[in-house]
Point group: C2
Chain length 492, copies 2
């Protein structure tokens, strides 16, 4: 398989629509698209932004080469003038996005593209794919990091990822979210992450006995000897054999048994019993690592049951959580007509799918005293947000209002590209990790609660709320008019 | 990001274990590893094999280049002799696998690697990742194809996939499973699949009115005009506007309205009402395409409710189904000691995790008269299966037996690599699709039922069953011995 041009990772309709715009003389018409999701992933109270780095790379390199044009020509759907346009395609618009590692919430624009409509349209598919992946991995990883409360999480999920590309992306997101390392050698090589891991059951089953396997491993890694003790029986075989290797080989040669790993069975019970045996054997410093399909809930339960946990290996629930859908959408919210942005709305037959129209900004309010995030407000782009006193209005129930004072305010989206130029210096992964830690500390614990979290406020300014209601009203009226038109037609 | 060497997509412990084998003088020791999953994915009665093509490509190219060696050296965990071994690494073993598109079932080996243990170990991570991805996409797609009973399914999931690589793989698997096309242009380009799709809501919201949007689109694609009718209101606006464009522009110019697509609301009701309107308007040939997060269950329900469906657009549930975990594992089942395969087992503290040991083959029995698959049996490699009469024994309940006669028998795994040489000519995607259709027709409808499917028989030969029981017994005995050893030690 040759090197892929990822600009071609687009739904076919992006291109057919683009040609329709092109034919209608609208190729330079400027449009605004918002990306957002409708429900926080993983039934949580928050999500964590991810994928901006891949978006930057894609947009910088966006193009169609001769081979691509030839392929598109072969579909028979495109005319030469449009293909010539694509041959010269590059992104000339602006992209604003919430930086990787920021907590984000349902129904707020996390990325906004303001660009000639064809450019905005062609990028839709891959932007969404990058956002959906980046957000699910970062959020899932952060949820376990929060649950572990300081116990190091090692990302071990490569084999469960839907392919190598997804595995490396998940490792990267896990690191941003605060994991301490990854088992994925390719991710380690690409990003310089700590790569971790010692042995699998096959090392034990290969040998004639568990003891022999442990001894050979200890000889190969006397300095870093972590033994997997559950191949046959943790307490009757694995831990005793580990202790024997420590006493017969490691300690006499000036080394220590660094750790044991338990990967099956009742981890709470086994970890406590194993620790007792290690202490009795005079090995109190030997670490206990737990793994086996853990997630935020099982980690919490293990801690509550007093399990002994020095570190956690966890993969499945970062690379492919049970409800892995973020469901980011990308909606046309405004069109520039002669220098003025005209707001657009989609109503549809499902009321909940009505989008928030308009070219917008998102602000986050922080309590000046505690630093906690109080809520976000979505405003029209040109609106000014008062710096002293503000009333948040719940768009789904206008009677729900909260007036706040004594706040700091911050715009959530950063300019990434302006008029085609990359203006954002993307932080390193380590910087993103530190930023994510700092950002997550601004959320109330109630919002971060694993189950039934408190809803975080994402409200609209009064002006935007009125605009949305007005546009919904207009759209509904429009439908009636058309209905009458058709009835007239039928009579013809 | 440079071109990735996917051989590096391996868990770090594969390499540390490999060095331990190397140091213990076992680099040429031949081992057998089986890949299998423990539960059919998606709560189904079957899975469909996928990912073999990517495995072939990876294994053919498996290597470590200078840059990789330099990186591995920098981790400080490897010695020069082992790094030199890796620098010369290539796969010299044999791989047997069930071909893409074959129905497969829990607990049977779907891929077997017989190779020097280090080679088998290093490939583990990426083989599993490819199998997990290939099987979930192919199975998920086949489930909707079965539910649609002949209605064409278009794979539309690119934006929901966890990245472009995962999206292209899902498109490919969807085609093998019987989908009629994909929206993913990159997949179309790479594999020559039909690329499909017409318009999104943004085409409608961009314009000043739905009618204008439809008209512009019809002008650009008079021959292939499929209009998305749910931006404002399907029955009051979308369908009437589509009819108007058909009557005012398409028909007068010698064209037809090819179709409408409904992407929200109650699809059963809306599709029936829309069809009535189309017929009333004299457009009985206009096709109705439905989309919006459909899956096998909603397709079945729509059909039961008499929905009008000429084609289905469906993506999420192929690229990222709700329970996307196949959970393939890869277990050491035998070691070659002096030319004899010694069987290995992992017992662990969870009884269900005990694996089936031994170097094995898998056979499928077909009813000679009906062609239906009667069950699979796993045998030791050297065993002969009688051709006339055979008793299947349920390994979980030996009292459950089924004696069968009048069968054809087929070995499920094909030789892919033998002694490092690729011996399998991988079929084209179209051939795989035809093969998958043929194969799926051999399953009883009860096995393919969406909910509470009948369990398909996957049994062990009596010889293999006895071996498994004996090895479990031995492993349990072994643990007691070690326990006594340790108690003795503690007294010292």
């Amino acid at each position: 398989m040759k090197n892929r041009n990822l600009t071609m990772m687009t739904d076919f309709y992006e291109l057919t629509m683009s040609q329709a715009y092109f034919k209608a003389g609208k190729k330079d018409e400027e449009a605004v698209f918002d990306a957002f999701f409708r429900k926080n992933p993983l039934d949580g109270g928050y999500a964590v932004m991810g994928g901006v780095d891949r978006i930057i790379k894609l947009v910088k390199e966006a193009h169609f080469n001769d081979e691509d044009i030839e392929y598109l020509r072969s579909t028979g759907q495109f005319t030469e003038d449009f293909l010539a346009y694509l041959r010269d395609f590059k992104f000339t618009g602006s992209i604003y996005a919430v930086p990787d590692g920021t907590p984000v919430f349902a129904n707020e624009p996390i990325l906004t593209v303001k660009a000639p409509i064809i450019e905005a349209q062609i990028l839709e598919t891959i932007l969404l794919s990058y956002l959906n992946a980046g957000i699910i991995h970062t959020t899932a990883a952060r949820r376990v990091v929060e649950a572990a409360e300081g116990i190091g999480i090692m990302e071990f999920g490569a084999r469960r990822a839907l392919g190598p590309d997804a595995a490396v992306e998940a490792s990267k997101c896990a690191m941003i979210a605060g994991c301490v390392g990854t088992s994925n050698v390719l991710a380690g090589q690409e990003y310089g992450f700590p790569v971790l891991g010692t042995m699998a059951h096959s090392l034990v089953t290969e040998a004639d006995s568990e003891y022999e396997a442990f001894l050979n491993y200890a000889k190969a890694y006397p300095n870093n000897c972590i033994l997997l003790v559950d191949t046959y029986d943790v307490l009757k075989s694995g831990v005793p054999n580990a202790i024997r290797v420590a006493k017969e080989f490691l300690i006499p040669n000036g080394y220590q048994l660094k750790g044991i790993r338990i990967d099956s069975g009742d981890l709470a019970y086994l970890s406590k019993e194993a620790k007792k045996m290690l202490i009795e054997a005079g090995l109190p410093d030997t670490k206990v690592c737990l793994s086996n399909g853990l997630n935020e809930r099982t980690i919490k339960a293990l801690k509550e049951q007093g399990a002994v946990i020095d570190s956690i290996g966890l993969g499945d629930n970062i690379v492919l959580p049970d409800k892995a859908r973020v469901g980011c959408v990308y909606k046309n919210v405004a069109i520039n007509h002669n220098g003025e942005f005209v707001s657009r709305i989609k109503v549809s037959n499902e009321a909940a799918k009505a989008i928030t129209p308009g070219y917008k900004k998102v602000y986050r309010f922080y309590d000046k005293t505690t630093g906690y995030a109080l809520g976000d407000v979505i405003a029209l782009h040109e609106e000014n947000i008062p710096r002293n006193k503000f009333t948040l209005i719940d768009p789904n129930n206008e009677a729900n209002r909260l007036t706040i004072k004594n706040y700091n305010i911050r715009e959530l989206q950063e300019a990434i590209f302006v008029d085609g130029k990359l203006v954002w210096e993307d932080p390193t992964i380590a910087e993103k990790q530190a930023y994510c830690n700092k950002e997550m500390a601004t959320l109330y614990p109630e919002v971060k609660r694993i189950d039934n979290p408190h809803g975080y406020y994402v409200d609209l300014t009064r002006k935007l709320l009125e605009l949305k209601k007005e546009l919904i009203r207009q759209a509904k009226e429009q439908t009636v008019t058309y209905d009458i038109d058709t009835k007239l037609e039928k009579r013809l």
